[in-house]
Symmetry: C2
Subunit: 476 residues, 2 copies
């Protein structure tokens, strides 16, 4: 089989070997740019599982993926570490394509309220209380939760971003970081965002990449969006922005200015410079004409749980985007809305709700869901050429999942197990950039106990809204 | 506070104490029969969390729930076991109100297909292959998964029921067991179901209770349903039946015979004798007139994940049933469709989809969701007077949940943690009928490794459908 012959350079010596695992090497879906798709796969996608294979990692890259029988004792002896893969699955590290990591500090603090109240009465007044220290602690806690759940990369959008970058650096995680700004801040906001991008792009040994972070198409004016597009092009980075978050925002944009939020991204030059669109649940059919020409640099991060919890009356139109060739990634949004940073949960919920929404149980197959969570998520954060698959030359971001749990047995289908049954607690080891960052379900570089204690002490002050102010008004 | 004064007999000596925990003692929702509901709670429900309380268990019952400061050293010394509750939550054991436990053996074997294909092309042909031994192994695996996830009771519906009863007895779990029958079997099926009920009611030291199990309102004819109602009344047991599983079944029943499936339950006397309705996603407004008069003995088990996965175009109408005073419980259906037996997952998905379906983020509050998972689920399986709350006199079925995981921190809201963030892997200890059945996340009475090995060896034979036969035709 072609799959067994992967490993362009079998003689490359590996410093780290995941030995005799089942390997999810790569996935495919019927998207342009996925030439490997078998002709009979249609829109169903494919997931390539290789039984009894080993993964060799040299430095921060995958060196080879080979049948275990082809790995020599000399190679094992030469490796600094050999991870026992028996009864385990090695898969591409998960990618959280849209979050606000420090918001984990408000987990559970604003429940059972609609979107506008969530912002105006709860979250934006509470965020006024946050210090840089809070941001750092929140980011550490969030990164710890993500790594323990097999999430190796996350696209973050928040203020206090240098603190978050510090947490990324210390934790061993990989991230695409965008400093949030509003036009209400004047030029200071966008200046700060650009300065952060210039300082941190390629930071933490390359694990930090950056994007520009205008908050939204309704909180940043067109002039600032145009400047963002120019700066992003100059820096060669994506822009990460909330746009068409739900159908009401699109309706409001059409009523107020006659164009959809996606057309705003087009008209201000952002689509041309490349965008990570957060949510896009308000994307409409007519938006395809704006998005499709830029499918090589535009993707959408979808966070289904918050759309349901906030009763937004719409989820990301995955079918429409799929047919237009636009990548859709999996995200969790901040844990203040999503309650977890569990990308498995988000993938599962997207698959379930897509079947229901389209009244088609054969749509959004397991393999397609895995493609969204791996290759398409990598594409959405602009790393499709080196993340989201376990193939030689790709960056060594790997989650090693324990398949022995009774809730996964018997194992009729690896794909079904990953999409519909696996839990973050099944993630046993995690590797980012060739470095083991979770070993035996424990974080290697972070100790969260102090951060958790300090955040719990800060809770009353963080929740105090008696000051009567808030970050912004939500009135899209 | 009234909550602190619970414990009708503080002097009752406890053989088992859960010491210094946060205790979810009881929940409330705006349903008739919940007289404790505060006037200001409206439809939102309430959940009573008692911080720094201890739970005393004497024999198989809750003896007292008291502030930790009121528990004496003499009481602790007299107990056979004291479980450290610090940093943990003690809550009523979860109840799976509808499942087919042995179907765990087909987990992941029939994915991405609609309901009719799922039955006719996959599950019913595979079930032809099952032996009594398979049923026993499947039940053991399922019960193990449920206990480890804090599920202390389950309502099961399957064939080979004596094997399942044996697994319940060995495992320490509690169950409501119904032997499945079809009219296509003639009198043999119903005879077998009645005989099982007579033999096992009150079995396993009272942990086994029984129901009668006609498969569905479309696979069991009216004569057999009438006989079922008579036998159920004679035995004083519920009938557990699939009815109005989805809107298409209701439409089909109306087209074929001019009545809804719920009216069939009424007309055959089943509502009067008491019913656990599996799914009820096809219950319509007009059905309320049949259901409401029997709300003290009729409930619905809702399994949202399978409705979404099978694109059934409808979920259980929780609002309609709530307003009619009919209890709704949480269920998982069999793991062949649901992939897990995770009641937390099912509760969460029901809460999320209800908000979305009604376009109301304030509906189906966290407290209401907890009420569905505890008191209403207990009512649905006919045990509302002694399960679903941690109050003196109730049966001692308790899940002790570790709250320290980083994915639950910081802890702004216990209710939000339980509904939107907790994982089965957070369940640390489980007590059923006063007996510790899970300690430190390990099963006390079951060893699943042999069952898992044997089931994995059986997989090819179980999946063989070359015989060309099936249990039934799905054609409601």
């Amino acid at each position: 089989m072609a799959e067994s012959a992967q490993g362009a350079a079998p003689q490359a010596s590996a410093s780290l070997i995941i030995d005799d695992a089942t390997v999810l090497s790569r996935t495919e879906a019927a998207l342009p740019g996925y030439p490997e798709l078998p002709p009979d796969a249609g829109g169903r996608g494919a997931a390539h599982f290789l039984e009894h294979h080993s993964v060799g990692i040299a430095g921060n890259r995958i060196a080879w993926v080979r049948p275990v029988a082809d790995v020599t004792a000399i190679e094992r002896a030469a490796a600094a570490e050999v991870i026992d893969g028996r009864g385990r699955l090695a898969m591409p590290g998960l990618i959280n394509t849209h979050t606000h990591s420090p918001m984990v500090m408000f987990r559970g603090a604003a429940e059972d309220v609609p979107t506008a109240d969530w912002f105006n009465k709860h979250v934006w007044p509470m965020e006024v209380n946050m210090t840089d220290r809070d941001v750092r602690l929140g980011a550490e806690l969030a990164i710890g939760e993500m790594l323990l759940g097999g999430v190796t990369s996350f696209a973050d959008h928040y203020f206090g971003m240098p603190e978050i970058a510090g947490a990324v650096e210390a934790s061993g995680a990989r991230a695409l970081l965008a400093a949030t700004y509003f036009s209400s801040e004047g030029a200071a906001g966008i200046d700060r965002g650009v300065a952060f991008a210039e300082e941190w792009h390629g930071g933490a040994g390359g694990r930090v990449q950056v994007a520009l972070g205008p908050h939204g198409a309704y909180t940043v004016n067109d002039d600032d969006l145009r400047r963002t597009a120019r700066e992003a092009s100059r820096l060669g980075v994506l822009t990460h922005i909330h746009a068409a978050e739900n159908p009401r925002q699109t309706a409001s944009s059409l009523a107020k200015r006659g164009v959809t939020p996606i057309q705003v991204l087009h008209d201000t030059g952002l689509l041309e410079s490349g965008v990570l669109i957060a949510h896009g649940a308000g994307i409409v059919e007519d938006d395809v004409r704006w998005l499709a020409p830029y499918r090589d640099r535009v993707g959408v991060g979808s966070c289904t749980k918050v759309y349901l919890k906030h009763a937004q009356s719409g989820t990301t139109p995955v079918r429409l985007l799929h047919d237009a060739g636009v990548a859709v990634g999996i995200g969790t949004d901040g844990a203040a809305g999503h309650n977890t940073l569990d990308v498995f949960e988000s993938m599962r919920l997207l698959a379930e709700t897509e079947k229901d929404k389209l009244s088609d149980a054969t749509w959004l197959t397991m393999e397609h869901a895995l493609d969204l969570a791996t290759r398409q998520s990598a594409a959405v954060i602009g790393r499709g050429a080196e993340l989201g698959a376990l193939v030689p030359g790709y960056l060594a971001d790997v989650a090693v999942v324990d398949l022995a749990g009774p809730h996964l047995q018997p194992m009729h289908s690896l794909a079904a197990a990953l999409v519909y049954a696996v839990r973050p607690s099944d993630v046993e080891h995690v590797i980012v950039d060739g470095d083991v960052v979770v070993r035996d379900r424990r974080l290697v570089h972070l100790d969260l106990s102090a951060a958790i204690s300090e955040l719990n002490e800060r809770m009353p002050a963080l929740r105090d809204t008696s000051h009567g102010t808030r970050i912004q008004d939500y009135n899209p």
